[in-house]
Structures are given as structure tokens and as C-alpha cells.
Amino acid sequence: MAFGEVHALIGENGAGKSTLARILSGISQPDSGSISLDGSLVRIRSFQEAQRLGISIIHQELDLFPSLTIAENLAIGNLHYSGGRAELDRVGLDCPTSLTVDSLSIGQQQLLAIARALSMKARILLMDEPTSSLADDSVERLFALIADLKAQGAAIVYVSHKMDEIFRIADQITVLRDGQTVATLDATATTPAEIVRLMVGRDLDLTARPHRTPSSDPVLTVDNLRTRKLSGVSFELRRGEVLGIAGLVGAGRSALGAALAGLDPILGGTVRGGRVALLPEDRGAQGLMPNLSVLENGTLAVLGRVQKFGFVRDAEERRLFDPVASRLALKCASTGAPVSTLSGGNQQKVLFTRSLLRDPNVLFLDDPARGIDVAAKQDIYRAIDEFAAAGKGVILVSSELPELLRCSDRILVLAAGRQTALLDAATATPESIMAAATRL
């Protein structure tokens, strides 16, 4: 690739994108093959060496230090940091640098990671799913930044699952599958459909909206809900309906899930009906028990139903788990293997199974398709449709507007903890949603 160019890497989970990122940043070593820079072969043996070569990586799993402050995180291991907050302003992170990282939202942490990479004066910047937890306004700012860096002659490797992003910013697109390059294409000479085909080897339709007819019968009624982070939220979720939740990072989308699932106290208003099961936003931190097996993770919340005198009955447990898991097309070598050995998409399906097994009539899905591959996304969408078709209600949070428009019947928009709109998804547009999300 050339300087002054944005080169997108795309591929399903496990295709080798993150491995490539680790090799370029000096964390892992290649088994064979070579990397050349400025026409000469280089070997990247450590993080510092990568930095001296001008390579900087923004990893998908953010490599920040949670108990250190923003300033300390910028300075640590950084050969070029000179204090100041120029980079923070560039990415639009407007908090004091004395805050510790664990007090920031995931989206803000992502911005900090980008600022950190910028401050290392990189000529080659690799971004691994940088927008996976950013709200749309931050994404816009990031894209402007990328255009800026590109104009200054930097080379940017952009790893993403999001087709619309890639086509907006990439000059070249390389598709990886099973650790190999399938094709490198000029972005102007290809189409999203072609890329998806190359990624999975078959056609997928990401845009078709299912035809649903929600009844007028409410399964969950929320009236003027108030919690520490929310106020004035009112809606009726009907049987067979998928209600999308849109909003910027920190608008209170996850707070709504926490309140409805009983994790955050309700300070005012009423919530009627609904056995709510929550699929949390952060798969690793809030969902998985990495050392427990796939099966154990799936049935964890419903052990009461498979026990006798406190003993787990294996056959009953399997009878509960297997049908739900296979309906979600969960793929794993063994349900007895630790869940951490699965790909991101399959891990999400295990958590989805856990939520479904609780036999809820309302599913609160907090960004269920975040950072998972296209095929797994399809399986999740199908499960959402099935659940709604069974006359139950789904509340779907997503940072991706196309996903919300594809899956929802109505879209509730939050801004700074307040409800600013409740739109019909059939007539809503990304513009109308964004307008409501920025109405403070």
C-alpha cells in the first residue's frame, strides 16, 4: 500500500485481521513471509520498534490502563508525547486529562485510544474496528480526521465489518478469509455485495426488512421512567414488535437496559409488565465467564430449572440448551470447551442462548451485532425476527443506523438521558434519527 491512502481490511471473525494487527505492532512474530517499508525489509520485534518505524495500532480490545489518568495513558510508552491536549481536541474528547480511564464510557475510551495513537506521530496507522463503540457524531469526526491524516500523507489500514464505512473512506479494499488474502480491490470498482460474497463465499441480504405486524397489545409499558441516568422515557412495547433504541454514546441506551432488567434502581415513573432478559453491551466484561464451558455459560441463569436437590441434571441441562443453541446456529467443536475458545460471533450466540433460556417476553439486546462477522449477524437478526414473530417484544440498541432501520418497527431516540423522539422505522431516515439524537 502507499502513503496517502486508506486501505480497508475486511473479513469475518477469525479471518486473520487482528493477527495481522498484532504482527505489525510487534506483539506477535510472523512464521514466514516478510514486511517491507520504504522499499526495505523490516522486522518488528517490539512495540517500541514499531513506534520508531512510525507504525501505530488502535486495537479492538482497547489497550488502555483503567486506573491511570488520561494524561498518563497518553504519556506511557510514548516516545513523542509532550503534554498538552492537541490530540484530544482533534478526536473531540473534551474531558479533563486528570480523569482516570475507568470513569470514561467505552466510546470515550475509544476516542482516547485514537488520540494516543495520533500522539505517537505515526505515519502508518492501523485501526481495528475503531467505530465499534462510537456514536455517529464521533464516527463523523473520526472520518474527517482520517481524511486529514491521509492528506498529510499518512497511510491508514482500516479494519472493519461495516460496509458503508469502508466504502465511504477506503481507497483500496483487501478481503481476508481464513487467514489468506482473497482479493484486493479498488473501492470505486467494486460493490458491497461483491465484498460480502468474497468474505463468506455466498450472497447475503443485509437490507431486506422482514414483514411484521405487531399487535396493539402491549407486552411492556414504560411511563415517565426516571433513573440516575434517564428521565422522561415513555413507550409501549407491543407484542411482536422490535423497538429500536438510537442515541449517541452516553445518551442512556444501556442505562435503559439496566433499569428494565432491574440492575439499576428506578427512581420514578412506572414500568408495567415484561419479564426482561438483557443481553449486555460488553460481551467480555458483562457477559462471559471465560473459563466456564460453552454449555455452562449458556445455562448459567436457569440452573434452577435443571436441578434436583441442588444437583445439576446433565441430561435436563442439555435438553434445555441444545435446541436453542442449534436454532441460533451456534458452532463449536465441543460444548464442554471453555467459551473463550469460540469466535466472537459464537460467543454472542452463547449469551443470546442464555438470555432466551430465561424465557423472557421482552428481550433487551444491547448492540448484539457489535464486532461480529456477517454470517453471525444474519443468525442474530433471524433470531430477533423469530422471537418477535412468537408474539414477544424486542428492544434493540444499536450504534449502526442501517441495522436499526433494518430490524426495528419503531425507533426511540435518546439524547443525554431524555427521550427526544419515537419514530416509525418505515419512514425514518438516518437524518431524522440523527436530528433527534442531537436535540438536547
Binding site: S28, A261, Q286, L288, P290, S293, E296, Q307
Partner: protein, 317 residues
């Protein structure tokens, strides 16, 4: 697609290694046999590890929840004082005295659990406090004196004679180890224990009974320390408010040698039993060869590190 692929545990290799070494360097008796392998010596080893072994079963559960229990040695001392005072000074029967001792021990454990779970304090700090406080309680109750149990024909002597037999001590350990193995691997409670330690945040989101699980775990650890204290009293013919000092460290050593991670979520009872056996055989092998007790500590230190190093996870990439 049902069973977890079985891996040969490295802790078992370490145990086999130490057994081979013990046989190899064992002194030879007058009849030509190896002293290490004599039935009397082997059962001695089992009896010697039983007290720490019992405590380490509870410690395994505590550590699986990503906690730690530093108060076990002090609880053991409290149990020795309560049971011996009950029989010798208060004139309670054997059963009542034992129940009092176990009740007091479990109560301290539950207190550890309640403070840890409800005030969300670090278990290290909570159990450090009870370690100090309960030691004080044991000394205060006994006026910091040993309560001796004689060898005569009174009730106390009967207690000591029956509970200091090898079969009773080893049998108690084996029965408890079996029970706790079942508890961890087969029950809902056991699964909660592993889940809570593996990812506390996710346990909260999954709606698991985190508080109850922690209270039970520390309560059981206290109860087991109490059982160990009763056996200790019989074996040593005295209630001793200064008993069990640093036992928490021996118990933790057995747990980590057995492959249980201090960060929680991963470990096993079988591993902890192997860890206790490893330590017992090592002690026995050094003593049979008349190794100086100070040198013994240094050798133990090295072997603990080696045993744990041998089973650390290999980096995958």
C-alpha cells in the same frame, strides 16, 4: 460434542515426580525395604496432611470466587479452645462441645462472608481483620493458656483417644474431600462458585445469587477450619490459642500447587488434594533424610515455585 477434551494435569505429574524422588532417596530399613513405602509411614503422611488438607478444601472454594481467607488458622485455634474448654472446664458432653466449636467457627466464616459480600470490601482486608480479632478471642477465652487434655479415663481423654486415631482423621479428610469434590463439580452451588469468581460483573448481569454464594463459601471455609480444629485438639491433647499460625499460607500453597488460579474461576478439588499430598510427601522425604528444618523451608520454597511454574498456562500465540 459433549465431553471436554481431557488433559493430563501437570499437578499430577509434579506429584508423581515427588513420589519417585521420595522412593529413590528413602533410607532403607533393617529388613531391606524402603522406609518411605512402609504402610505406617504412608498413613503418617496422610494423617499429617489431613488438617491442612481439610482447610485447603474450603480455601479452594474461597479462591475460586477470587477471594482469600486469611482467618483459617485463627478459626482453628478458636475451635481448639472452644472444644477443649467445653469438655474440660464447662463439663459439656463431647457432642455438644464439638457442635459449639463448629458453630463458632462457621459463624466467623459467615461473618467474613457477610462483610465481604454486603460491604463489598476486599476479602484480604476482611479476613486479615478476623484473623487478628479471632486470634485475640481465642487467647482471651483461654487466658492465653493451653487447655490440656490428659491421658486418663475421663471424658476429655475419651474424646482425644477416639478423634486422634489415624483412621478417624484420614477418614474425615477423605470424606470431606469427596463431598467437596461433588459439591464443586455436580451442584448448582459449585457452578455459581466458579462463575462468580470467573467474572463477577457478568455474574451480576446474569442475576446470580452472588451474595449468598460468597456467604456460603466463607461459612464453609470457617466450618472446615473448625473441623480441623477439633481434630487438632484431639491429636495434640490440648486446646491451644496459639495453634494454626501460618496455616492459611500452607493451605494457599496446597491450593495453588493444585493448579487453582488466585484470580478465581479456575481450579479443582482434586488439584488441591494433589497439592496437599505433594507438600506432605515433600516434608516426609526431607525429614526421613534428616534434612535440617531451616534448609527444609528453603527447599520447599523452591519446589513450590517449580511446581506452579510447571503448570502455568502456555501462551497461545
Amino acid at each position: 460434542m459433549t465431553k471436554r477434551p481431557r488433559r493430563f494435569p501437570e499437578s499430577l505429574l509434579a506429584l508423581l515426580g515427588i513420589i519417585v524422588l521420595a522412593i529413590a532417596v528413602s533410607p532403607v530399613a533393617s529388613d531391606g525395604g524402603r522406609i518411605f513405602l512402609q504402610p505406617g509411614n504412608l498413613t503418617d503422611i496422610l494423617r499429617q496432611i489431613s488438617i491442612i488438607g481439610i482447610i485447603s478444601l474450603g480455601m479452594t472454594f474461597v479462591i475460586l470466587t477470587a477471594g482469600i481467607d486469611l482467618s483459617v488458622g485463627s478459626i482453628l485455634a478458636l475451635a481448639t479452645v472452644v472444644v477443649s474448654m467445653g469438655i474440660v472446664r464447662q463439663g459439656h458432653g463431647i457432642a455438644v462441645s464439638i457442635l459449639l466449636a463448629l458453630g463458632a467457627s462457621a459463624a466467623v466464616g459467615v461473618l467474613n462472608g457477610v462483610i465481604t459480600a454486603t460491604l463489598r470490601m476486599q476479602p484480604f482486608v476482611v479476613t486479615l481483620a478476623t484473623m487478628i480479632g479471632v486470634r485475640g478471642l481465642a487467647k482471651w477465652l483461654s487466658s492465653n493458656e493451653n487447655i490440656d487434655i490428659g491421658f486418663g479415663h475421663d471424658l476429655a481423654a475419651t474424646f482425644a483417644a477416639s478423634f486422634s486415631r489415624k483412621a478417624v482423621i484420614i477418614g474425615t479428610y477423605v470424606a470431606l474431600a469427596g463431598s467437596f469434590w461433588v459439591l464443586l463439580t455436580r451442584t448448582v452451588f459449585g457452578r455459581y462458585v466458579r462463575a462468580v469468581g470467573d467474572n463477577p460483573k457478568a455474574a451480576e448481569y446474569a442475576g446470580l445469587p452472588i451474595r449468598a454464594t460468597k456467604i456460603w463459601v466463607y461459612g464453609l471455609s470457617g466450618l472446615l477450619s473448625g473441623i480441623a480444629g477439633v481434630l487438632y485438639t484431639a491429636e495434640n491433647h490440648q486446646g491451644n490459642p496459639n495453634a494454626g499460625v501460618a496455616y492459611e499460607l500452607d493451605a494457599i500453597a496446597a491450593v495453588v500447587i493444585g493448579g487453582t488460579r488466585l484470580s478465581g474461576g479456575k481450579g479443582s478439588i482434586s488439584g488441591t488434594v494433589i497439592g496437599a499430598l505433594f507438600m506432605g510427601i515433600l516434608t516426609n522425604l526431607l525429614r526421613l533424610n534428616n534434612v535440617d528444618s531451616n534448609v527444609e523451608m528453603m527447599i520447599k520454597a523452591i519446589l513450590i515455585v517449580l511446581a506452579v511454574a510447571a503448570q502455568r498456562e502456555r501462551k497461545s500465540k
